[in-house]
């Protein structure tokens, strides 16, 4: 069920259309709002033990509202125009990443920030989204030629350059996101499976080289994963305490505002990277699964939109955004339950932090934009149960 190319002209490209707001997917919006509200509740509890003039949950609410604005704005923008801007953006970001490596501000041992007068800017965060669009542009341009090995390999060259630059900052978490995004998008774009399989195998083979380039603290974190008790006060501390925090929640949790591990500061960063532990401690297995289920519904819905997008580029950006978010959720929760080594990967909608919240909402905006284009007259996708497009079709 492909988009017939003949219809393309009828759809036309309108760079910005408030009309799109009428095609807002209510199910997706509901899931986003549910997650955001859930996140704020957990953050309120997580922020209790911190002494801050403006509580985290207040700031996070503002980030959420700003994010909503951005998401709505992006949903009105035609993603195809954004895709066409991707090559330029890619070039600019390569320069910015290079600048970060040379003149970036060093915080806690890594250069991630670019000092732009009054505000700091972290190019690596936005690079994720830029890469989604760049890959969508590239894969759309290639079409079926992606089945050929050189074009396939070129994809990895595209993500490899910024990937290595970010890895060098060093920001292991962010650079690691790029791989799954590329793999998912290539897969959906129709590359040969054995190409992909070979690439993944090769990637795993490269791990030892990556290991040799890792900083000591990064290696320590990986080692810790295998034996957290080796250094309970040092690098194992986070893993052990996080597992205790999550595990002590039990089936139903200790009750809202009754978490002890987090409130008594046994688990550091419980309002940012380890907020899932806070959630799991206070709401237990039930609450943890509820959050995962909400995420899964969100991604399922977004993938549905991707599947039924107006054109392949729409599918690709939607898949890229879903992968980006899903990877964060998976890796973040895996860290908190002691499956992956500790790296700075935030949990969408839950972890406190403005930049990533805006990235998250941008992804939502892109998915909404794809959804909106899907519903224009002549769209060939399947009728949606909850979409206003249904009336248009019948």
């Amino acid at each position: 069920m492909r988009m017939p190319g003949a219809k393309k002209n009828e759809i036309g490209i309108r760079i910005f259309s408030l009309w799109n707001l009428r095609h807002l997917d209510p199910l997706l919006a509901l899931l986003v709002i549910s997650l955001a509200v859930y996140g704020l509740f957990v953050l309120y509890s997580a922020g209790r033990s911190e002494f801050s003039p403006t509580p985290y949950y207040v700031k996070q609410s503002i980030f959420f509202l700003m994010g909503c604005g951005i998401a709505l704005f992006i949903s009105c923008v035609d993603y195809r125009s954004l895709i066409s801007l991707a090559p330029a953006a890619y070039g600019i970001f390569l320069c910015l990443l290079a600048a970060v490596l040379v003149v970036g501000d060093e915080i806690k041992g890594s250069r991630r920030w670019l000092d732009l007068g009054p505000i700091g800017f972290q190019p690596s965060e936005s690079t994720k989204l830029v890469m989604v669009f760049t890959l969508a542009w590239y894969l759309t341009l290639l079409g079926r030629r992606i089945e050929k090995l050189p074009y396939f390999l070129l994809t990895f060259a595209l993500i490899g350059v910024p990937g290595v630059m970010i890895f060098k900052q060093p920001d292991l978490g962010t650079s690691a996101v790029l791989g799954p995004i590329a793999v998912a998008m290539l897969f959906v774009a129709g590359c040969r499976v054995w190409h992909l399989a070979g690439m993944v195998m090769l990637g795993l083979g490269v791990l030892p080289i990556a290991w040799s380039h890792m900083k000591d603290y990064q290696k320590q974190r990986v080692m810790t994963l295998f034996d957290p008790s080796a250094d309970p006060q040092g690098s194992g501390y986070h893993t052990i305490q996080s597992m205790i925090t999550v595990g002590s929640g039990g089936l139903n949790g200790k009750g809202y505002l009754h978490g002890t591990q987090t409130y008594l500061s046994y688990l550091p960063e419980h309002h940012t990277d380890f907020i899932f532990s806070q959630l799991a401690e206070e709401f237990g297995f039930v609450g943890g699964c509820a959050a995962l289920a909400l995420f899964l519904c969100l991604f399922w819905r977004a993938l549905y939109i991707a599947r039924t997008a107006a054109d392949p580029s729409g599918s690709l950006v939607a898949v890229g955004c879903v992968t980006l978010l899903a990877f964060h959720v998976f890796v973040n929760t895996s860290i908190t339950i002691g499956v992956l080594p500790v790296t700075g990967i935030p949990l969408p909608f839950f972890s406190y932090g403005g930049t990533f919240y805006l990235t998250t909402m941008s992804c939502i905006g892109v998915i909404l934009s794809v959804n909106a284009r899907r519903s224009v007259p002549g769209q060939s996708g399947r009728p949606l149960v909850l979409s206003p497009a249904r009336q248009g079709v019948t």
């Binding site: 069920m1 079409g143 595990g247 089936l251 002890t260 591990q261 046994y266 699964c289 993938l303 599947r307």
Partner: protein, 655 residues
Amino acid sequence: MAPDSREPKPSISEARVRLLGMAIALSFCLLAGRLWILQVIRGPEFLGKSESNRLRIERLESPRGAIYARRGPVQDVVLADNRAARDLMVVPADITISDAALCRRLGELTGIDPKKIEAQITKARKAREPFKQILVRGDIPAAVSARVDEYAYALPGVFTAVRPLRRYVYGKTAGQVLGYLGEINPEELETRQDRYNMGDLIGRGGLEGRHEDRLHGEDGRMMVTKFAAGTPQLRTDPYGNPYIENLVDSLGHSLSVEEEVQKARPGGDIYLTLDIGLQATAERLLEGEHGAIAVLNAETGEILALASAPGYDPAVFVSDTGSRERVSILQGKPNRMLHRAYQEVYAPGSVFKVMLASAALEEGVITRDTKFYCPGLFRLDANGRAWHCWRRQGHGQVNVVDALAFSCDVFFYNVGLELGVDKIGKWAKKFGLGVQTGIDLPGEAAGSIPSRESKEASNKPGHEEEPWVYRWYPGDTVNLSIGQGEATVTPLQNAVMMAAIANGGHLIVPHLDRESAPARSEKFLSDRTLTIVREGMRKCVEKGPPAPTGTGREAYIEGFEILGKTGSAQMVSLSQYEHYKDEADIPKELRDHAWFVAGVLDHEPKLAVCILVEHGHHGSSEAAPRMRDIVNGFYESWGKTPVLAAAADGEAGAR
């Protein structure tokens, strides 16, 4: 509608998007599975860990019971109690500056070698115990503690902790009676784990050891919610009892106390019969000597003073700086740990004659009028060995009263022979000589009065071919008659014997605990015997004229009726120092031990006293004079209450 595979469009495969969705769903299911394992299957285990993270059992150390003596008949004074000692502590994890800088500052403030502190901190860090509270120095002076508190902002990780520490208010006075405290050892801990922790102090020797179970309280405990960083700061009152309200930790979090607080139950107090004034007097009288003084209430057996010299200050054993002194006390010569009044035995010497006279009178061997002639020496047979009287020129014809007053040896040689060793042994036991008195202190020595059986029993396997060596000979009886030979007693036993004479013939059990009921035996001496023996002992103290003065005349005090008996316990046979022309030339270690037992009968309470000065040579010159200070000092604080004539055993007429 048909897909055009020729077009250079990517062929978005719906199936592949679905697969991607399933992959995400599958990975989320794995996460949920892991959550199930952590939260539901291992949940209880992690809950326990989080609780032990959160809850910290704070031990509320129970204060040890106090020990009271008295001053005069009514006033209680505290001998041993607890004070708040301040310990300088550091927690490595809380040090936010460099260790070296902290140690330097700490060194400047307290004068402790910074390198030593740093080594301790490094050790704790290496042992992965950064949260360990390191004891930098225990019991720091209040001034240093105040300085540390003042500069607390510059000393992150440093704090002072308060703990109760034993205080001995009178220092050395009664030190050996009190005993001392020492850290509990692992073997002791094994059997007492319910009440003790590692590092606890436990009573050793003396009252501290004897009444350990009563003095040691029961520790309380409370559960405190603890923040990850910061240590709960238990504040204590001046006696080391923790306050439970307004708990904070070192970072200022207010902490909540979980569950009910089990308060510490303080140890029980002990009230002694000891009179601190008299005890101090007795110890002063022994200053510079080795010896012992025991003063008993003759009627009840209450110990009014129990002095021993040289002694020690028990505070040395709980101080953090006294380790050198401790070692010198524990290992040094002379043995300062030994309480010479009840843990050491001596030959009773002439003091033994009090018992012998009473026994002979009771057995009917002699009467008041029985006389023996004393030529200055005594032989069993014409050519046999000569036993001398201490008075070489002899006493002439003496009866029992004069024999006691002038300590005639020959009289008692004869009496002893007539009485026989078996009866001497029987009566010695009745008087409590050579057997434990039952004092409520640990480690009491028994001493021994030799008998036929004991001499035979001393036959070691190697000498079996010469059994005659271990047979009892009349000569042994002669020696025993004046308390020489193998006979040994403790000074306390002599005091108990004296008490029997003073209280009308009852054996009492000396005790220090005011709560223990006075225990006394049935009357075993007749009034007739008592009257005669008392007469002799009174005459011993009396200063002539008209009668010749007795050996105990130095103990005479105007206005008091004092009974006394001197004694000199030979250390070596006379021949060893016969060649010294002057007594002053005799080396101190060869001189006799000087004894004096005495009783005061005409004042309340009646006293029984025993004084021993090691190598004092003569009871009359070394021991007896010390009696005066004891009697004067005692009745000054207790008041001079004359014993009513009716109650004074009707001996007024005997005078």
